[in-house]
Symmetry: C2
Amino acid sequence: MKEDNRSIQFVTRNKGKFDEAARVALDYGIRLSQVKLAKYEMQADDLRKIAIVSAEHALRELGASRILTEDAGLFIESLDGFPGPYSSYVYGTLGVGGILKLLEKIRKREAYFACVVAYCCADYTKCFEGVVNGRISLRPRGGQGFGFDPIFIPDQGDGATFAEMGINQKNRFSHRALAFSKFCIWSNSHYAK
Amino acid sequence: MKEDNRSIQFVTRNKGKFDEAARVALDYGIRLSQVKLAKYEMQADDLRKIAIVSAEHALRELGASRILTEDAGLFIESLDGFPGPYSSYVYGTLGVGGILKLLEKIRKREAYFACVVAYCCADYTKCFEGVVNGRISLRPRGGQGFGFDPIFIPDQGDGATFAEMGINQKNRFSHRALAFSKFCIWSNSHYAK
């Protein structure tokens, strides 16, 4: 492969996602560029499936030789995994308030964020996963991040929600940072051969 | 077209949907047969788009000359259209109880059910839509139908939920019956030419 393996297109319309991923990749010497393409997502309970179909579709649409996509979701245990793969739609309709209403009077507030990064080239698609365990707060806190960040408290932190953290602190724990780190480590070792 | 135009495959895994549709079609002299294929659905706010992609996928998978699929959803106004195209997923996770919890203390309970039937053959895909207006009940009532039927009261009825109606009564009002009627009328006139 003669291309510049130090730069790759990340297909996402979400600036928050892009900024987080780009920061991680830079630590590994990889430059991401944002490509805004209408995302093609299928309905499935499995993030990996959604990410793969989406990546293969984007590769064809862009006529690129390789691209990255990602799919992520918030899975709340007492809601049977809801909103899961449909987090973005649910954020846009019910919002943070809807999730808190669904959890009113519910003590069991465990949840996790999961992210699947799909690397797609002409020959194959490879996935990298990240998960962060935590719980849903009683009320929204913080003005940073995006989506359900104001109500998610990761277990490893000091009790702050993702939206109370700067991007660097969030990246120490986050599902997205973990998945992109895995990709970068693989990419660097793969192309070093 | 030399095929038997009086019979067609309806791709759905939902027996409730099939029974309702088959009953309508029979009134127009059309025989539906149920084909259970893993449904391929994309994520989109637009039922029509979902139904078209799903129909074209099913036609390819089955190697059939023509098939029917449908996509339906419950759109609740005060929830910004939620659960909409994701009604089946939301029914499986939050259930009827989750919707009622989201509407606690909310007076504005207007909602509609929409259905898009997609007829797909080698040359084109054609859609038929049905909508029924109504409201969400304060508690679930009735043991018939499926999905969110126990909490949906159509405007045209006598205050009963869909789940309190027999299949024939539901078919007098329902989004699905309306969409399938439109298909049958088109099919009979189209193939009579």
